[in-house]
Amino acid sequence: MDEKKPVASVRAAESVVALAFLVFGLVVVWDSRRLGAEWGSDGPQAGYFPFYVGLLVCVSSVANLLRAIGMGEKGKEAFVEWGQLRMILVVMIPTVIYVALIANPWFSMGIYAASTLFIAIFMYFLGKYTWRRIIPVSVGTMVFFFLMFEIWFKVPLPKGPLEAAFGFN
């Protein structure tokens, strides 16, 4: 695959984002109408302020959409290239898995163990480090954070079976 090939043009990205704003604005307007966006017997109703806020989101997103459609040469430029998108996914996918591992209904690893694993995997695949470098860095960082949050500042973070084995719950 050509790394420099654009995935999407600036025009396409601008249009999609403007449309997303429009949908968001419409949702706000719709829910405000449901709550009542008028002048009630005891003053403005709950939806009064959000209604106009949503309306302004809609108006400005239509303006942005028109501007995106009317874009000249600049609209044809690449919003993101394949090589760039690949790098972003290489970071985003492990991040999502990492957050899922911290706590989920089936098996919660706890933030310390999941973070250690996350840093290690990142260093192994992206940094091409050997395990002799990876283990001290990843374990050392998280032991430091453990001391800082659990012991010094007494801010409890989600913990899993590993910490339980050491008697921290």
Binding site: V10, A13, E14, V17, F21, F24, G25, V27, V28, D31, S32, L35, W39, G43, P44, Q45, A46, G47, F49, P50, V53, G54, L56, V57, S60, S61, A63, N64, R67, F79, Q84, M87, I88, V90, V91, M92, T95, V96, Y98, V99, I102, A103, I111, S115, F118, I119, F122, M123, L126, G127, V137, T141, M142, F145, F149, F153, K154, V155, P156, L157
Partner: protein
């Protein structure tokens, strides 16, 4: 000279061993945050805010907590200059103008001179702004005691109109981002009627969106994604900063006193208006270029070209705290996070702060003087150390920063949902940045949304739904008028340009 007396009292508060140690820790942490990609003033302070929850509970603890957080802010402001000069990467938007002459200077082998000039002029800019805060803010606070809901709403209006009028990009993008911030702020239980707004029966949405999560996601994760897109390499110049270079540069600096005065003035003026630090640095650079006798040489590595934007950016960044303290209206995302901290610690920012929390306010102002002196010493002595951190490969720094962001998001409310929200805001931040949607108005709207809505509703209640209450007297009318002028400024300036053009053509 009541202010001087209060200030001396403030120094007595700030000069305890514990607070000075916090200043040192805060500044060092702040420079580190400013230097690392993905961590900046706003999200750095947001991540560390939960650590101060217990500290602020103790008597006098709120002062220590704000000293720690504001020193992180000063540190981050100093740190931005290091990356701009050595690596041509502006750490914060207002450091962009510093790269114009700072990086060429570093390439010429004068990195030391550029850094010294940047730090010293930052210090000067901050000092001028702090002096301004010392003497002006009690006056403004006293004046603002007379404010009712319509006046407060008009000040909020001014804040938000300033963003639209001063934004460099498309005004409608600013409006869309800002209004989305207001809409997100409305999510949850309506404080007046108790009704659920925009929650769609999703239990997690009941408590609404916390702006700290938005700040960590938008500025933290978004920034990491942008950096990664550029590749994983940092290419920088080495920095050595010995006393000889520092003293030589200091001898050179007084020559640019005119630039410094101009830059401090521009910075203070623009800093009080929200979103002002970035335009202030560009404006100051432009002014210096136009008015200096070496103007043509700007961009090739002139010390004066570093002095101008750095002085203005620091003056603006510091004076952004003035409206936050006196009116409860923050001028920048970082000031907004500090304001959020005040609210969490149980302090009500605004004019009453100056009468009810004298120790806190004057302790903070005194710590601004001390913090900037400490900051100057720390950065001048530790540059090689901080630059070395930038040489740590990105494949180690990136996951550690992502972990820090996740922990920071979790600790705000001890909720995993917030961590997911942070990831979503991160993707949003990346898209926003690439398409030039401004993030600061969104964050400020999210912070001020409820308060702006309350003051709007109260004014409307008072007037029975008549919008003319915002022009009812001279004070509120002036602020509202000024807001509208700023709001339509892009149109007005276009109109003036058009008229001038036509006039010019007609003369031919």
């Amino acid at each position: 000279m009541e202010e001087i007396q209060s200030l001396i009292g403030g120094f007595a508060v700030a000069l305890s061993w514990f607070n000075v140690a916090l200043m040192l820790a805060g500044i060092s942490l702040g420079v580190l945050i400013g230097v690392l990609p993905g961590l900046g003033g706003a999200n750095g302070v947001a991540i560390l805010l939960p650590l101060t929850f217990t500290m602020a509970q103790q008597p006098g603890g709120a002062t220590s907590a704000i000293i720690l957080l504001s020193c992180i802010y000063w540190g981050a402001l100093f740190g931005g200059a290091i990356t701009s000069i050595l690596f041509n990467i502006p750490g914060e938007p207002w450091s962009v103008a510093t790269t114009f002459d700072g990086y060429p200077l570093a390439q010429k082998g004068r990195a030391g001179a550029a850094l010294t000039a940047a730090f010293s002029s930052s210090f000067v800019g901050a000092l001028v702004a702090v002096i301004l805060i010392t003497f002006i803010s009690p006056v403004i606070a006293k004046f603002a005691l007379r404010f009712g809901p319509p006046e407060f709403f008009s000040v909020y209006l001014l804040t938000f109109c300033a963003f639209v009028g001063m934004s460099k990009g498309a005004p409608f993008k600013t409006v869309a981002a800002m209004m989305s911030g207001f809409a997100l702020a409305a999510v949850g239980i309506d404080t007046v009627t108790g009704q659920l707004r925009l929650t769609f029966d999703i239990p997690e949405l009941l408590k609404g969106f916390d702006f700290l999560i938005a700040v960590i996601g938008l500025f933290g994760i978004g920034e990491i994604l942008l950096t990664i897109e550029e590749g994983l390499e940092f290419k920088g110049t080495r920095a050595k900063l010995d006393m000889k270079v520092v003293i030589e540069t200091w001898k050179e600096l007084p020559r640019y006193w005119r630039t410094s005065v101009r830059a401090s003035f521009v910075g203070c003026m623009m800093g009080i208006v929200p979103g002002g630090a970035t335009p202030a640095s560009f404006m100051s650079y432009g002014l210096a270029k136009k008015m200096s006798k070496d103007g043509e040489l700007f961009g090739t590595g002139m010390v004066e070209g570093v002095v101008a934007p750095e002085t203005a950016a620091h003056a603006a960044g510091t004076s952004a705290l003035l409206p936050m303290l006196t009116l409860g209206v923050p001028g920048s995302p970082t000031a907004a996070v500090l304001l959020g901290g005040l609210l969490i610690w149980g302090l009500q920012p605004g004019p009453l702060l100056f009468t009810e929390q004298k120790d806190f306010v004057w302790g903070l102002i005194a710590s601004m003087y001390l913090g900037n002196i400490v900051g100057l010493i720390v950065v001048l002595t530790c540059v090689p150390l901080f630059a070395a951190i930038l040489r740590v490969p990105f494949s180690i720094i990136a996951p550690v920063i992502l972990v820090i962001c996740a922990i920071g998001a979790y600790t705000v409310h001890n909720s995993m949902f917030d961590v997911w929200l942070m990831v979503a805001f991160g993707v949003l931040g990346y898209v926003f940045k690439k398409l030039d949607y401004p993030m600061a108005p969104l964050v400020l709207a999210l912070v001020l949304g409820d308060r702006a809505e309350d003051s709007f509703r109260q004014s409307m209640l008072g007037s029975g739904g008549d919008l003319s209450v915002f022009f009812a007297n001279g004070l509120v009318g002036t602020i509202t008028g000024l807001s509208l002028l700023l709001l339509f400024w892009p149109l007005i300036s276009q109109g003036i340009a058009l008229l001038r053009d036509r006039h010019g053509n007609g003369g031919k």
